[in-house]
């Protein structure tokens, strides 16, 4: 498996596709963080003394998306780009039967490919994180505290799993559709649907289930229904997790009644408490990645290799 892994990794890193992705992501990332940093410096009094670094990642300024939203948007593209030709490309080039007639287990090919994709994503995400920290130190003038570092690290892990889902999904399509272009288009279509249309659909459906809310309880119920439906999309899961993990003061997801928030101290949550809050999202993300890859794996093991 390690042979396949290293070859695929080398392929990824030397491909033009990866260079373009890297350029896009680093440029947008740096820009977003820089803009956020500028606005934080301008109104320093409104910014809390603690967690300035986390603010760099989450705050949006000047109509620009925040870094986390950028990554929520571009992450799937990275995953799809790395995965859509994993199997279909081998079919198209006619290399699959040649490679599989070598003395390797069949699963080592697909495992190697998936792990190489994940490693590439990790390298990409880690480089963004390091860039942000470096830029942040320049902008705010002091290093992040350990809590911030931990939270950023967890944010990175969540991000990698999130992109891992899209990677597994793209590989799944590339296995089932066997044509590179079709696989890419199918993955992109699903991405658009899950990232953009699902929240809209969730709103509409929630509106139908709880029509015309007047009482505050009903408003909350409608929001809850909408966010429950929205959670079929991994993008929502990712955004919710990131929102909690990068914002220590956030303590609920979605809407809450005034009575419920009464008496809550506005102190930041401990890291473990924030983690507890996103545990369902986090485990679901891992589960869907595992499910996607498992289907891929089973299908690949049983498929007939003709070309």
């Amino acid at each position: 498996m390690s042979v396949v892994f290293w070859k695929e990794l080398a392929d990824h890193f030397s491909s033009r596709r990866f260079m373009i992705l890297l350029a896009i992501i680093v440029l947008t990332g740096v820009w977003a963080v820089y803009a956020a940093g500028q606005s934080i410096r301008q109104d320093a009094e409104s910014a809390p003394a603690e967690y300035v670094f986390l603010l760099l990642l989450t705050s949006q300024s000047g109509g620009l998306l925040s870094l986390t939203s950028f990554l929520a948007l571009l992450g799937p593209l990275v995953g799809i780009m790395l995965g859509f030709d994993a199997i279909s490309g081998e079919y198209a080039r006619g290399t699959l039967s040649r490679v599989l007639s070598q003395p390797i287990y069949r699963d080592s090919l697909i495992n190697g490919k998936f792990l190489a994709g994940l490693a590439t994503v990790s390298a990409l995400w880690a480089s963004i994180l390091l860039l942000v920290i470096g830029l942040g130190i320049v902008l705010v003038g002091f290093p992040p505290n350990p809590e911030e570092l931990w939270r950023m690290l967890i944010f990175t892990v969540i991000g990698i799993i999130y992109v891992g889902f899209w990677l597994a999904l793209a590989m799944l399509f590339s296995l089932f559709l066997q044509r590179t272009v079709t696989a890419a288009l199918a993955s992109l279509a699903l991405w658009l649907f899950l990232a953009i249309f699902t929240p809209l659909i969730a709103q509409i459906v929630a509106g139908m289930i709880v029509p015309d809310p007047t009482a505050p309880e009903e408003v909350v119920r409608q929001t809850d229904v909408a966010s429950m439906i929205g959670r079929v999309s991994p993008t929502t899961l990712y955004e919710e997790s990131v929102q909690i993990i990068l914002n220590p003061t956030a303590r609920v997801l979605g809407a809450a009644l005034q009575e419920q928030t009464q008496g809550i101290l506005l102190t930041p949550l401990a890291l473990s408490q924030s983690l507890l809050l996103i545990l369902p999202q986090f485990t679901t993300l891992i589960a869907i990645v595992a499910a996607c890859f498992a289907i891929c794996y089973i299908k690949f093991m049983r498929t007939e290799i003709r070309a």
Partner: protein, 309 residues
């Protein structure tokens, strides 16, 4: 014990029987030609030999192993060249071979040595540093031959190894294969439509039509079995004053028919009349250029079996 052995091998797809009760064996050091029209089940059979496809029924043994259970043992010993071998376009020919060598866990120094020697043998040393993207079809085919040999297999399974090669290239590849088979006792299973070449190099051939092996054996045996009536057919070519030679030949006892063909005559006889024919020609003061029994070509055998099936 045969190196490749199948017994009642069957592969069914939903509504199609691709391979139907195929039984054959290939002995150590033998070159076996696998013939048949397109879609006859040759490739499916080959895939089952390699464990890339699961048989629906029957038994397969390659080097004594079951390809669907002990696929790794089989793949360690068998080099397979698919019909249209594909390579990683962005890597050079040498890098492609190196990847295959790594997959076979050959250590780097040994791999470089083998790859260098093989590239030389297939005449690709000059182009081995270029990306495969720039290769012609024939170059890819030659690289494919080098690739299957990297792991120093005991068995070679080649699906159309000479497709797309120029005559010289094809002849060189076939010479290489024949040589290897002779020197190292390599067993070769080869599917091809180049009947002339198959006839020259294969010890035995099997003709497969509609998933069934309809004939198998050495080419000359197959020929005499298929064309029993041709056994005493001769072709004669001679020069000189040829007045009356045709009627004289026809009058020889044993000659049943005569027919002009090109510069000579084609005789259908019921026994060996060659001594008499030679004597007749010499007596008439003519010079005898050739007198040979008419061999059946593999092409004729193939077509005959194929049309019968």
């Amino acid at each position: 014990m045969p190196v490749i052995e199948t017994e009642n091998l069957t592969k069914r797809y939903r509504d199609l029987i691709a391979v139907n009760g195929l039984s054959f064996g290939v002995e150590q050091g033998e070159i076996f030609g696998f013939l048949g029209p397109n879609g006859a089940g040759k490739t499916t059979t080959i895939l089952m030999l390699l464990g890339l496809t699961e048989p629906s029924g029957g038994r397969v043994r390659v080097c004594g192993f079951d390809p669907s259970r002990q696929a790794l043992e089989v793949k360690k010993r068998v080099g397979y060249l698919p019909e249209n071998p594909g390579f990683y376009d962005d890597l050079s020919g040498r890098e492609n071979l190196r990847y295959i060598a790594r997959l076979n866990r050959i250590d780097e120094d040994e791999a470089s040595r083998r790859i260098g020697a093989l590239l030389e043998q297939v005449g690709m040393t000059k182009d081995s540093g270029r990306n495969v993207k720039e290769y012609s079809r024939g170059m890819k085919q030659r690289l494919g031959i080098a690739e299957v040999l990297v792991k120093e297999p005991q068995v070679l399974i080649l699906d159309e190894p000479t497709l797309g090669l120029d005559p010289d290239g094809a002849a060189r590849i076939l010479e290489l294969i024949t040589g290897l088979s002779r020197e190292r006792g390599l067993t070769v299973l080869l599917s091809s439509h180049m009947l002339h070449q198959v006839q020259q190099m294969c010890h035995r051939v099997g003709i497969i039509v509609g998933g069934k092996m309809i004939a198998a054996g050495a080419v000359d045996k197959l020929g005499s079995a298929a064309f029993e009536e041709r056994r005493w057919n001769f072709f004669i070519e001679c020069a000189g004053r040829s007045d009356g030679i045709e009627s004289d030949l026809a009058a020889l006892p044993g000659v049943q028919g005569i027919e002009r063909r090109g510069k000579g005559y084609y005789l259908r006889c019921d026994r060996d009349v060659r001594p008499e024919v030679a004597a007749l020609v010499v007596n008439k003061g003519m010079s005898l250029f050739q007198l040979r029994s008419e061999d059946t070509t593999l092409e004729e055998i193939y077509l005959k079996y194929f049309r019968e099936a």
